[in-house]
Each structure stands twice: as C-alpha cells, then as structure tokens.
C-alpha cells in the first residue's frame, strides 16, 4: 500500500493553523510572537534541508557518508547539551561527544543487527533515523544528568569532602552523587515508558502505521525502539559523567571550578 504524499499546496494551507497560537499570543499580549515566527521558520528550513539531505544520503547509501552524518548529529547534540547545562565547552566537548558516540551506537547497533535482522543494518534508511531517534531521546537525560551531578558536587562540596576525609577513594566518594544523578536523569524516560500507548501514540509506531504496516507489527517496532532508547539513554548519561571526570576533578580529588561557565559561577 503506497503512502499518500502530502500535496505541497495543501501543506501550505496547513500553515493557516498557526493563526491559532499567534492569535492567542496576540490577544494576551504574550511576547512570544517573534520567537514563534523564528521557531516556525527554523523548523521549516531545517526539515527542508534534512528531507533533501536524507534523500541524497539514502540514494547514495555510502557507509562513510552515513558515518560522517552520524558524527555531525552527535556534534550538534553535544553542543546543545553543553549549552543546556552551562558547562565549560572546553572541558566537556570531547568527553560528551565520546559518551554519546558509544552510548548511542551500542544499542542502535544491537537494534539493527539483532532485532531488525535480516534488514541491511548499515543502510542509511535504517541507520540514520534509528540513530537519530535514540540520540534525540537521550539528550534530555544527558543534560539533566550532567547538570545535576556537577551542581550537587558544587553545592554539597562539604558532603563530598567528608566522604574523602573518611577515607573514600574517588569512586567511593562520588557514588552517592552518581546514584542520585542516575535517578534524576532516568526518571522522565521511565515515566514515558510506563505510560506508553495510553497517553499518546508514540512516534515510531505512528510512522510505520502511516507507512502501511498493521498496528500489531507496528508495536514491535515501538517496543524495540523503546528498549534501545532506554539503554542508550542510561549508557550515554552515565558515560558522559564518567568521561568528564578526568578533566573536571583535580588530581587532589576536588572539583575544578572551571567546569562551570563564567555566568554560572
């Protein structure tokens, strides 16, 4: 069953719906008009570009090109994470990049080679969207995790110092903070999983159903992607903290103050 393509003219007419939010803002004098317009334009331009670019990526289906594109996605994610948690770019950029790379790639690789078998795993058509979904869904957890961990370490330095003075090694002294960080950063993903299907129909499932696959088959995709997202999220959030420790702690074990951006100090 072929998927109905949306007619460009009809989509353009769909933009008319945007009069609703704009009207509401105007009526209440909410200063969001400019932001809304910028967001609409950005969304449109970025998606146009991606649509165009992915088409080329799918057509060429070159493994190196795919890998390069994954690297670009990670780099953009990396930058937006660090902007999101006011941490020093110079200290965190590389550790977070590597954490995302390993943390996302591992579950995606399992997803593509084991679960989706015998589909050609490294085909751009599978690799790029699945990687993007897992990466996109893990961003928030990584932001919350890094933010919480370094905030807690700074605010509760006395507690950390007490653990060290009581003879804890670095890992032992950090353990209570790591434990808390994982609890905080994983909570939204777990809550989302627990209400899956009840509150909103998930994107992956909706997508494959519109593509003509039966709901019974679609939920299998959804289950698989949720598993990949949960494992990717936990792995990326944990690795991001661990990989950043080497530069964020001094050899004496204390927190390097330059981990925070100046604004946040």
């Amino acid at each position: 069953m072929p998927v109905t393509d949306i007619d460009v003219v009809r989509l353009a007419a769909g933009y008319g719906l945007l009069l609703i939010p704009l009207g509401i803002f105007l009526w209440h004098r909410v200063p969001l008009i400019g932001t809304t317009l910028v967001s609409i334009v950005r969304m449109t331009v970025q998606l146009l570009f991606i649509g165009f670019y992915l088409q080329i990526l799918f057509d060429l289906n070159n493994i190196w090109l795919n890998i390069m594109w994954l690297a670009v996605m990670i780099a953009v994610a990396d930058a937006s994470i660090l902007r999101g948690c006011d941490l020093n770019f110079r200290i965190f950029a590389i550790p977070v990049f590597v954490a995302l790379l390993l943390g996302i790639l591992l579950p995606v690789f399992i997803f593509l080679t084991v679960i989706l078998y015998p589909a050609p795993a490294l085909d751009a058509r599978f690799l790029v969207p699945i990687f993007g979904m897992v990466l996109g869904n893990s961003l928030r957890a990584v932001i919350v995790g890094l933010q919480h961990f370094y905030d807690a370490l700074r605010r509760r330095e006395k507690e950390y110092f007490f653990f060290l003075s009581a003879g804890a090694g670095r890992q032992e002294a950090l353990m209570p903070f790591l434990k808390e960080t994982l609890q905080v950063s994983m909570a939204p993903t777990l809550a989302n999983m627990a209400t899956m299907g009840l509150v909103a129909l998930p994107g992956m499932m909706t997508g494959v159903m519109i593509g003509g696959i039966s709901p019974a088959a679609a939920i299998k995709y959804q289950i698989a992607i949720m598993i990949a997202i949960l494992s990717g999220t936990s792995l990326a959030a944990t690795l991001a903290v661990y990989f950043s420790l080497r530069k964020s702690l001094t050899p004496w074990g204390s927190l390097n103050r330059s981990v925070f951006t100046r604004l946040n100090q």
């Binding site: 509760r156 006395k158 110092f161 007490f162 003075s165 009581a166 003879g167 050899p251 004496w252």
Partner: protein
C-alpha cells in the same frame, strides 16, 4: 612511640583566588598534641584546614603528615591518618546510623569495623539522645549535626583530628562535654580552629594565625 611530628607545615602560603590569606606559615604538631588555632575572620583558618586535607592544591615541600610530604598522589593515602569536622558539617543524607556506618565500607577502612556500641557511647558523652541514631539527618538541629559529624570522625580513629569551629553551634553544656571528651583523647592529635578563643579553648597550647607567619609563634621551629 613515633617521634616525628604528626603534622608539620613549613613556609606555606594560603591563597583564596588571587588574594593572599597567609604567608610563610609554620606549624608543628606532635602525636597526641592538642592545639587551638585562632585568628581573625578571613585570616585563612578554614583554608589552612582544607589544605591539610588536600582539598586545595598544596605547594611542594610545605605540608608533611606523619613525616610524609602531602602531594596530589600521597593525599589519598595520607587522608587515612586524618579526620576532619567542618563548620556546619554535611555528612550525607539518610538515617544517622547508616551515615556513620558508610565509611566502614570503603576499601581503605577495611581493617576497621563499625561498632554501634561505640557510636552509642560517643553520643552519650556528647549528650545526644540515644534515639538520634535512628533519626534522619535532615531533622537534626545544627548542634546535633555537629556532634554526629564529630562522632563520625572519631569512629574512624585517626591520629590527627582537624576541627573547624566545632563548638560554634553547641550549647554551653554540650560544648563542655565535647571539650572534656576531646581533651581526654591520649593518642589523637587535634588541631582545632576557632575565631573566638574564649569560646572553645581545647588545651593550653594556643596559636594565632598572625604569629605563625612571623615564625615567632612556634617556639620549637
């Protein structure tokens, strides 16, 4: 008994950012010796304690604990000779007895074991009700937290105890109880920092931050 000083500080400069708090500080503490260190607010007393713990970077050849130089490498080992109670201490979240027991799970404390009885005895000495052990850290008052933190430090049986304004949050009676107990510890050297000497003088040896820097305050230097 080991004759080398438990703590020796030579020519130590204390900085907070770019501001110099103290310069060329000298201090020696023998095993079992008790010393009260005083000085004006902002004279770097707490900074000095943090440096002795290695929580702030320490220049080479300035601090020696049990005769060994304190460096980024040795600090992990030397911290096991020292315990520290900070001002308005925070020692973790949860039930008091769990917090007291936690350090005994650290690899470096494997030779020690947590004795609930000991904690109870210390609580009694410090006039803390016995049921404090079962309470959550969050519900304790500042003075109670202070004494729990002191108990946590004492349970580890370190050779050197660093106290930062440890009596500040205590009422007169518990202050007296804590002082009497600390003074009775034969084998524990104590460096107690207090800006108000009349408030908490632990022993006859009293040093001033200002004097230690001139080199005249420390007679044995």
């Amino acid at each position: 008994m080991d004759s080398s000083p438990i703590l020796e500080i030579r020519d130590l400069d204390g900085m907070a950012g770019n501001i110099c708090l103290f310069r060329k500080l000298h201090l020696t503490l023998d095993p079992g010796e008790k010393c009260t260190l005083s000085g004006a607010s902002g004279s770097g007393k707490s900074t000095l304690l943090k440096m002795i713990m290695g929580f702030l970077p320490v220049p080479a050849d300035t601090i020696f604990i049990t005769g060994e130089e304190l460096t980024a490498k040795s600090c992990w080992r030397l911290r096991k000779c020292v315990a520290c109670v900070s001002q308005e201490p925070e020692i973790g979240k949860g039930k008091v007895c769990d917090i007291l027991a936690a350090p005994f799970q650290y690899r470096s404390n494997r030779s020690l074991s947590f004795e609930l009885k000991e904690a109870q005895q210390l609580f009694e000495c410090f006039l803390l009700p016995a049921d404090t052990l079962q309470k959550d850290m969050e519900v304790l008052s500042g003075g109670e937290k202070q004494r729990v933190a002191l108990t946590a430090a004492l349970l580890l049986k370190r050779k050197l105890l660093l106290l930062d304004e440890v009596a500040a949050a205590l009422d007169a009676r518990s202050k007296e109880a804590v002082r009497a107990y600390l003074a009775s510890l034969k084998n524990t050297a104590i460096l107690s920092v207090s800006h108000d000497v009349g408030d908490f003088l632990l022993s006859s040896r009293l040093e001033w931050m200002e004097d230690l820097q001139k080199g005249g305050g420390n007679a044995r230097d």
